[in-house]
Amino acid sequence: MEEIKKGGLVDLFDLKNVDIHIGEIVDEGEEEEEWEPMGPHPMPRMATLRDWDFKLLNRYKPFYAPVCDMCCLCTYGKCDLSGNKKGACGIKMDAQQGRMVLLACLVGCSAHCGHGRHLLHDMINKFGRNVPIDFGPEVDIEAPLTRLVCGIKPKTIGDYEQVFSYVEEQIVQLTDALHTGQEGSYMDFESKALHMGMLDSLNKEAADIIQIACYKMPTSLPGGGPDVPLVDVGIGTMNTDNAVIIVIGHNVPPAADIGVYLTENDLEDKVDLGGICCTSIDTTRVYHKAKVTAALGRQLRVLRAGIADVVVIDEQCIRADVLELCQRVHSPMIATNDKAMHGLVDRTDDDPDKIVDDLVSGRVPGVIILEPDQVGEVAVRTALEMDKKRRSLKFILSDDEFKYYVNDCVLCGSCTLACPNGLYIGEANKSAAAGNIKPLADLFDICVGCGRCEQVCKKHIPIVDMMTKAAYPQLKEEKGRMRVGRGPIWDSEIRVVGAPIVLGTIPGIIAPIGCGNYPNGTKDAWLIVKEFAERNYIVTLTGCMAIDCALWKDEDGKTLYEKHHGGFDGGGVLNIGSCVSNAHIHDAAIKVASIFAGRPLRGNYEEIADYILSRVGACGVAWGAMSQKAASIATGFNRLGVPAVVGPHGVKYRRAFMSRPDIKEDWKLIDASDGSDVYVEPGPQDLLVACETVEEALPMMAKLCFRPSDTDRGRSVKLTHYIDLNLKYLHTYPSDWHLFVRAASDLPIATRNELLKKLEDERDWKIDWKKKRIEEGPIRAYNPSFNPTNLERLIRGKK
């Protein structure tokens, strides 16, 4: 029997004909104790942080907008819950919505946990469990969330086995609560969703740390951090004179193996390795010649365009009809993950010659290879062969075909009713038929590439291909640049910006993350980044928004990544990495509390979240949020005290967290210095809110960066941007800016008089014009020593 390795949690898999035998665990000493005493809540269970959740939930009361008035989860149903009625099991509409939110967070959290655990297995197989976690000289706190939630300081990747075991147990406990006949209160469903969100943040940190450690992705070693290199982004960057491999999904090992095979066989210039979604981002962190072909929204169109000589899928965010799409354009497909097997035959451990032959000959449309290190050879050899076979094939519509179809359209409107964005395709066809293809070409970027329209067109017009055809000239020029995902924010950076962030002089951290379900195209992603980077916010991106914002250039032909520095400081535009990398954004906030403010970290979630909620002016934006992962990501941010803005499609998540600034009692904080109650301005006003347009979202995000702890100088900076963004995009002053004014010194110097006048005239505030002081009006006076908290136990002295 093999010796069971150190690590506490025994790997019970793949034991074939091996006896499992568990012996005694011998205590090796107290070494861990040294780094920090344990806080109150290591490895919190479902109910451990419920008090904190209820504090959040009482201020930011769950708001529900059902997508469906029925429940269909058991065979007592379907039940009609409309008007907040009860189903056959006794559940009311509000609790049912909470349950659906918990379900979404479950699926999202499990996607990250499942991915992370899977990755860990593969990495331990490949590198052993002793790969050290060392992110270079600038990163001492290597795993803030792991320390915070689990009370563990991971030294090697093997240490993550216990983290995943903890998360998995909790996930199952939470899933249990979804069963018919459990919770009856939406508050408890939401507390559980928040717990799920927190677990999800931990998963993401674990997954990214493991892959960084194993693949030596950028850290604080030379070439990392602000100095990560740039890579190509966009369909136009794919060199179709080469063989082309497209990887899709989120789990990088198979793609990494392709990179290794290309390098080792000197094929880097013969084969283009491009990707879609997070796998593409992570591939560039491993193999710098890889390209980011597109984000989620272009997946269908990239596949249909037929540029791939091989498609390699792993897991998540892969179109469910990927096999059918590949077959249509004769792209052999390789599935590499047991979560997405698409009915194919598993060929793991089979002879590569045979597999390549089967794929190239078309005998099978695709294969499954579950061992990542077997993928590179098969994918590359197949791509090279297919490249030859596929050269003559054309998948872009001919001019004649295009003309035929635009004329064939009967303007029936079915496609419009099927389109999630309600695009008026018929009208664009009509205009194209009359000679003007611009309306159709303009739809290309607004279309989210879902394909629903085509299925209902009675004239069988290939609408998606029509838009591609119309936009082809632009598309060929879709050539952007993006920084490689940099991973962790450095402790040294936090030391520099901690004070400016907490004091408010860096107005905020803006974190655009997530998917591509935009209401109005990818350019909004670019605008959000641009606007805040130019205003000296720190902009930290991950996932599809990190890709989409790279598609656009300014007048000088520069992308935002080229225009702005990549450091965690005002004006920076940072690609943090793939979806799992957005844990580093949590980590940055946690490190502000820990490094800058010296708050204890270990097993101390509640206190750190309380700190962040009151002091760290950060705001996420998931403008194209679509997936269950986005739901759990946002919920994880929320539990940690970070608000998030979503695009209008985000209302279909059913639940939001918004406060009521008009209810005074909801805004009672405690001054930890003396235990007194303080009624404060609504900062942040919401934890999760949707905006209708990007023009509305920009001022909203600025608003959600207010914090009760802002110094007057900080507040004046934030007010400047809040008012300015309102004037710029809404053409008017915000109706609530006065709520954030505590003293004249909170007002920007340049406009102080003007604003004081407005307060006097429009709000009846009493101004002492001589002293330039506000005498009466604000919710509270500015108190520089105010030490805001929501937790009674943090009161230092009673007044």
């Binding site: 907008a65 029925m70 409309s82 008007g83 499609h649 209302v651 995009y729 008017t732 109706s735």
Partner: protein
């Protein structure tokens, strides 16, 4: 009142759906409101005509909550009376609470008119009000070019080629709204 295919076909929530109604019916329905509120959104900005319609309603004494970035259009026209910027999500969060004090401090509304709002966003907010703003019952209508099953009444789906007809409907609606 008939029903038809929702503008986004799958916007079928369940047994409780509102009907399609012509402008004069919706107009006279509003006349029964004690405290109506007009909620406008960004789609208004695509043509001045739509802003003007809203202003006409505003001038009839119906307060306006301008959501999205629609407030722009009113500012540009110099209309600032009885109009308030509000985020639609936040506004709906207030509307669902019978104790909300309203935009003017005089209490919540009993009747809400949705106009110029992205279809699916409006639909979800109407769903919230339909399901939770029930005691007292808040009545909701839409005068957008979409059939909105989550509103009690709305227009039928109107495709761009019928834009002129739609404008005529809005005019008809304004004139039949008596206050």
């Amino acid at each position: 009142m008939g029903i038809e295919i929702p503008f986004d076909v799958a916007t079928i929530a369940g047994p409780e759906v509102g009907g399609v109604a012509p402008p004069e019916v919706i107009g006279s329905y509003i006349s029964s409101a004690k405290r109506p509120l007009l909620v406008v959104g960004s789609e208004l900005l695509r043509d001045e005509f739509f802003i003007d319609i809203a202003i006409e309603l505003g001038k009839k004494g119906i307060p306006i909550a301008a959501t999205g970035h629609s407030i722009r259009g009113f500012v540009e026209k110099g209309y600032t009376e009885n109009i308030y910027y509000y985020n639609l999500h936040e506004l709906t969060n207030c509307l669902r609470d019978p104790n909300w004090e309203g935009l003017d401090g005089a209490g919540n509304y009993d009747f809400v008119i949705f106009y110029g709002i992205i279809y699916y966003y409006a639909s979800q907010m109407l769903s919230c009000l339909k399901n939770f703003a029930t005691e007292p019952l808040m009545r909701t209508v839409s005068i957008d070019r979409y059939y909105h099953p989550n509103a009690r009444m709305s227009f039928t789906n109107i495709m761009p080629r019928m834009e002129e007809e739609y404008k005529a409907m809005l005019k008809e609606f304004v004139s039949s709204t008596k206050r």
